[in-house]
């Protein structure tokens, strides 16, 4: 096997496609508006599922900024998710800091940790990068698991309070919702804004440079791009948004536990990104939705969910390397081609 870089089998991110009427509909907005109605039209369980999917979607998109856009295979992305969850959880539970301060603090803390760990990681190539990210995530796990006084050790931090949502009750129509549902709407709004920012970023000149680095780091360096600085910047941004996702997840699941940070979780979010299609911005959210939904459905019938997950992964690797969105896009292109012909 050679160490040459080969671009992932995917369409380029950030390249404007031919306009047609399907693309002109604001799909993203529609999806979020539909999701926002879940507390009214769906059951408690539906809201739970939607919230889980939304948080995982943000987490997977943040990973994909490294994986699909920059071509960095991080096997320890869960570390940043975990740091965000712990910082927010500890501030809100132990120090009773309100959410409005604890949440940005979680992002800031994660960004700092990503800056320090990323500084070392981006100096390594390929497989060594993957190994060092894995090492950092295991360090975070070991600290979370053993530092009883701060993280609660193997007992974790249960009963993280909900944010103060009285202001939301003052808004007409939202007052009679349960606190769970109000928090769901808040989380959904935060996730929508975060995804919009990430989307802008990927399509921006900065995102183009990242794609160039993914496709050919040597050439990028040759035309004057500071490859490491850009990779580090991508690493910090990806880490920060993973931290936001983690902070929301801690409140959503009413506790932060060391399990959140175990290395197999990094693999799980990676599977989400690849299942959806890491060559597309909306691939990872699709992957998150499918995987969360499947895991709920399948665990209802059998305890052998990991076996199913492994099988899904095998099918993906050998039959559908572009993921669901990649497969659909190929199908769509074939239909379009046939129509033109």
């Amino acid at each position: 096997m050679t160490t040459e870089t080969t671009a992932p089998a995917a369409a380029p991110i950030g390249v404007a496609r031919e306009g047609n009427w399907v693309r002109r509909i604001p799909w993203t907005l529609i999806v979020f508006l539909v999701l926002a109605t879940v507390p009214w039209v769906g059951s408690r369980y539906d809201t739970f599922l939607a919230e889980q999917i939304a948080i995982d979607a943000l987490f997977a998109v943040s990973l994909n900024l490294l994986l699909g856009t920059t071509g960095l295979v991080s096997f320890g992305h869960v570390a940043y998710f975990g740091v965000g969850a712990y910082v927010c959880g500890i501030l809100m539970k132990t120090y009773e800091v309100p959410f409005i301060f604890a949440f940005p603090a979680a992002g800031l803390g994660t960004a700092l940790f990503a800056l320090v760990s990323g500084y070392f990681c981006v100096r390594l190539i390929k497989l060594y990068f993957a190994m060092l990210t894995l090492a950092f995530s295991q360090i975070v796990w070991a600290v979370a698991y053993k530092w009883n006084d701060v993280t609660g050790g193997d007992q974790g931090l249960p009963e993280i309070p909900f944010p103060d949502l009285d202001w939301m009750s003052a808004i007409p129509g939202l007052g009679d919702l349960r606190t769970n549902d109000q928090f769901y709407l808040l989380a959904l709004a935060i996730i929508a804004v975060s995804l919009a920012i990430l989307h802008r970023l990927v399509r921006s000149p900065f995102g183009r440079v990242l794609t160039t680095i993914r496709d050919n780091p040597e050439r990028a360096a040759f035309i004057g791009v500071n490859v490491r600085a850009y990779q580090l910047a991508a690493f910090v941004v990806a880490g920060t948004f993973a931290g936001f996702a983690g902070a929301l997840y801690g409140i959503f699941s009413r506790g932060v536990f060391a399990d959140f940070v175990f290395w197999s979780k990094s693999a799980e979010v990676m599977i989400m990104a690849i299942l959806g299609g890491m060559g597309y911005f909306w691939g990872p959210p699709v992957g998150a939705a499918v995987l969360v939904w499947l895991s709920q459905k399948i665990t209802a019938y059998t305890e052998y969910w990991p076996f199913m997950l492994g099988t899904i992964l095998l099918v993906l690797l050998f039959a559908l390397p572009g993921g669901i969105v990649g497969g659909l896009a190929a199908l769509w292109n074939r239909i379009q081609g046939r129509r033109r012909a």
Binding site: M1, T2, T3, T6, P8, L67, V73, F75, F120, R123, L124, K126, L127, Y128, A130, M131, L132, L134, A135, F136, Q138, I139, A142, V143, Y145, K146, N148, W263, S264, A267, M270, I271, I274, Y304, P306, F307, L309, G310, T311, L313, L314, L317, F318, P321
Partner: protein, 292 residues
Amino acid sequence: MAASFLFSQVMGGLTTAMFLFLIASGLSLVFGIMRVINFAHGSFYMLGAYLAWQGVQWLHPTGAGFWLATLFAAVTVGVLGAIIERVFFRSLYGREELYQLLFTYALVLILGDAAKFLWGVEQLSVSTPPILSGGIEIFGTTQPLYTLFIIAIGPAIAIAGSLVLSRTGIGRLVRAAQMDREMLDALGANVGAIYTGMFVFASFLAGLSGALVTPIQSIVPGMDVLIIVQAFIVVVIGGMGSFWGTFWGSVIYGEVLSFGILIFPGFSLFSVFALMAVILIVRPWGLFGRPL
């Protein structure tokens, strides 16, 4: 600190170390040649343990026939390795690392559940083979014979392995495959067969170490994931692909863990992870490895 206490601490570290060496050497061999971190290596180890238990049950439930069961376990895992390499892995060699990593991870998930399905979630255990069930007195401490056997078998395999690598024709081919696969292919060597052979040998070692661990540790689901992280650290410390590096990496890991518990209890786990991170930062190819 009393000398006997220090001694038993050292011996404890060495036992951990030699076990890890048996497992990690296979991981390191596969990495050295194929440039793949085989997460499923821990699953092969777990299968070795379960198969050894199964073999003992079939032969003689009281524990006789342990050696035959161990051989059975190692060979079966080796055959499984051959199938996996030939059927699946082969088609991934040209692909990106990410896909290879995820393929081995898919195996972890599937084999873990397969073991649960076949053997359940109860703890299983195998009794120590009668010939090694005693202990001897050294420096005022009692050392079980079986532990001493493990401590002896590690260096034996290390020496045998490095002799094969440095002195025989097969070893020369393996080293050549490590350095430049295309060139070796162009020279007419059957690189595919070398890959399969190394993968089978590594799987065999994993199965063997899984079988040998059964008299000391109980067999539980999840042992695959626990061991692969440790073996991974050992290989990173020593240097991926380096045989002696893996040996010394295991010794360092075992002793750091064994003495780390004394110095800061509760944080010995942290200390080995931190050691791994520092080595990756300063010398990513490990203490004894060579840069890629």
